[in-house]
């Protein structure tokens, strides 16, 4: 194993995520219903589903933020029930709001998040410098995040989410509202990062983005209704586009409880 791999926490687990019968109920409502799946190391894994299908609940459980009602999940080698704090330390997270502090500078955001994730001063300084160089942000380290264009914020937020070399990175609708060139460049950045050995779980409402993923899971009503590569799923459900696939799985299958699906 090379040096780079070792520095990724829990880098020797073949399955970065293992979920068995993972379940979450809120009162009588089952948000996630006995889900089992694995995510492999280095994989870009897409999580799709209608609004209210249970994606957010599933992600919150995998991040150690929400205790499952039943079942278990190991994330980067740690049990989400017994070691949620270790899970939180071992993952990176980026949401559509980019999770950056708008009134802090680029450098301050790097120091802040690196500090939160317990990076050593020397490592943080080095990783921060490398990030600035890679993103070609020399000279604007001391600008406030609020003054930067959306596309830059997005790249910075992503780079900060992987700064502590987490074993798993969650990207929650990371490309909302950006222009087409920025969106494609951002996906290039995601895939390039995955090639370095990072594992990535991404949610999106853009069906064309699902095609960048190695495998995708489509959720309906708390269940995984399909899980495979985009190509295999399309042939399995006998459709020729991701949009048709999504429609077939989320709409043609649901009949009875249409009200809850609104």
């Amino acid at each position: 194993m090379d040096e780079q791999d070792q520095s990724i926490s829990g880098g020797n687990t073949e399955h970065v995520v293992e979920a068995h019968d993972l379940t979450k109920r809120f009162g009588k409502f089952t948000a996630v219903n006995r889900i089992s799946f694995e995510v492999c190391k280095g994989e870009v894994f897409g999580l799709l589903g209608a609004n209210g299908a249970g994606k957010t609940t599933l992600i919150r459980m995998l991040c150690g933020l929400l205790r499952p009602t039943e079942g278990m999940a190991r994330v980067v080698g740690y049990d989400v029930v017994h070691h949620p704090e270790r899970v939180k330390f071992s993952i990176g997270y980026m949401s559509q709001q980019f999770s950056l502090y708008e009134d802090l500078t680029v450098a301050e955001n790097i120091r802040f998040f690196g500090g939160i994730y317990g990076m050593k001063k020397k490592d943080l300084a080095q990783a921060g410098e490398e990030m600035i160089r890679k993103l070609r942000l020399e000279g604007i380290e001391n600008r406030l995040i609020s003054t930067l264009p959306l596309g830059w914020k997005q790249r910075i937020a992503f780079s900060i989410a992987v700064l502590h070399r987490p074993g798993l990175v969650f990207l929650d609708e990371p490309t909302s509202g950006v222009d087409p060139v920025t969106r494609r460049q951002f996906w290039e950045m995601i895939l390039e990062t995955a090639r370095e050995g990072f594992t990535i779980i991404v949610t999106t409402h853009y069906m064309d983005e699902a095609e960048y993923c190695d495998r995708i899971a489509i959720m309906t009503h708390g269940n995984i209704a399909g899980l495979d590569s985009p190509e295999n799923l399309q042939s399995q459900f006998n459709v020729s586009s991701m949009e048709d696939l999504f429609w077939k799985i989320t709409r043609e299958r649901e009949t009875a409880d249409s009200i809850t699906g609104i």
Binding site: A50, N51, A53, S176, D179, R184, M207, D208, E243
Partner: protein, 301 residues
């Protein structure tokens, strides 16, 4: 017709709209596409007379947005990007309120909104603030339609909405259009660009292109190929290093690649390239540009 002529609007230093000119036809389903900060909401607020342009004119069915704003407000329906109904009024009270401020009874235009409203009617006694996102959206649409406007303006109604619900929303918009209403919708989702009769692309306050989906696709100036190999990243870098390349970008599992010249012999070029790197065999086929390919090209200019 709606005529937007040379409209400019600045907020301090920030030029939100820069000499935008555009005609939207009666009973058209028109899509305004652009990233966050492109100026979509600013243009819409000018259309619905909530903002004054710094320069330029807008005529809506012959009425001027500055002088005739009172008349215009009666013929426009507007659904803003953020939920703007009264959260502590019930579903039914909100609808009755909007009907009444336009001097109408609830029953008058009920047939127009029936299909949308029926989906939220089981919750008519619930405070609007307690509805799910999808239901809020349906209520907001009902309220924007209850006075049967001639022009309906919807600011990013599908943001954050899943692909299947978005498709259903567009089917609903087509039905509203068939009632003789001009429908103008903004969106940041490129896949929705081809759902209207015509589309325009707004970028950094400038209108880059307007036309039918076909016209926009055909405006892509280069031949376009979808290529793939066992190492797309290395191939992408190699393609970008070639002076003959106009554009190379990842597109799902393929690379969308354009040579700068029409008479370029792609087959020879790619098979030569195969020998220079560890890509394995390079598959390629000619493909039709998507709306996104065209817009990506335009925004790089």
């Amino acid at each position: 017709m709606i005529r937007i002529a040379d409209v400019t609007k600045s907020f301090g230093e920030n030029k939100a709209l820069s000499e935008v000119s555009l005609d939207i036809l009666d009973e058209e389903l028109f899509v305004l596409i652009g990233p966050d900060g492109a100026g979509k909401s600013t243009l819409f607020r000018i259309l619905v007379t909530l903002l004054l342009p710094d320069k330029g004119h807008v005529l809506i069915k012959g009425l001027d947005v500055v002088k005739d704003f009172w008349k215009i407000r009666k013929i426009m329906g507007y659904m803003p990007g953020t939920f703007s109904l009264y959260p502590d009024l019930t579903v039914e009270e909100n609808l009755a309120f909007y009907a009444r401020i336009f001097g109408m009874s609830l029953g008058e235009n009920y047939p127009l909104i029936r299909e949308v409203y029926e989906q939220i009617e089981p919750f008519k006694n619930r405070p609007a603030g307690k509805l799910s996102g999808g239901m809020k959206q349906k209520l907001a649409l009902s309220c924007a339609l209850i006075h049967r406007p001639e022009v309906l303006v919807l600011d990013e109604p599908t943001t954050g909405v899943d692909a299947a619900s978005r498709k259903e929303f567009w089917q609903m918009l087509k039905k509203i259009q068939r009632e003789g209403i001009t429908v103008i919708v903004s969106t940041a989702y490129m896949d929705e660009a081809s759902r209207g009769d015509r589309t325009c692309f707004l970028h950094k306050g400038k209108l880059l292109k307007a036309g039918t989906p076909e016209e926009i696709r055909e405006s892509y100036p280069f031949p376009l190929y979808a290529c793939r190999s066992k190492d797309n990243f290395a191939l992408l870098k190699a393609l970008r290093n070639e002076p003959s390349t106009a554009s190379a970008m990842l597109y799902g599992k393929t690379i969308h690649y354009s040579p700068a010249r029409n008479d370029f012999s792609v087959g020879t070029f790619l098979s030569d390239l195969e020998g220079t790197g560890n890509y394995g065999p390079i598959e390629y086929r000619k493909t039709t540009p998507s709306m996104e390919d065209s817009f990506a090209f335009l925004s790089k200019q």
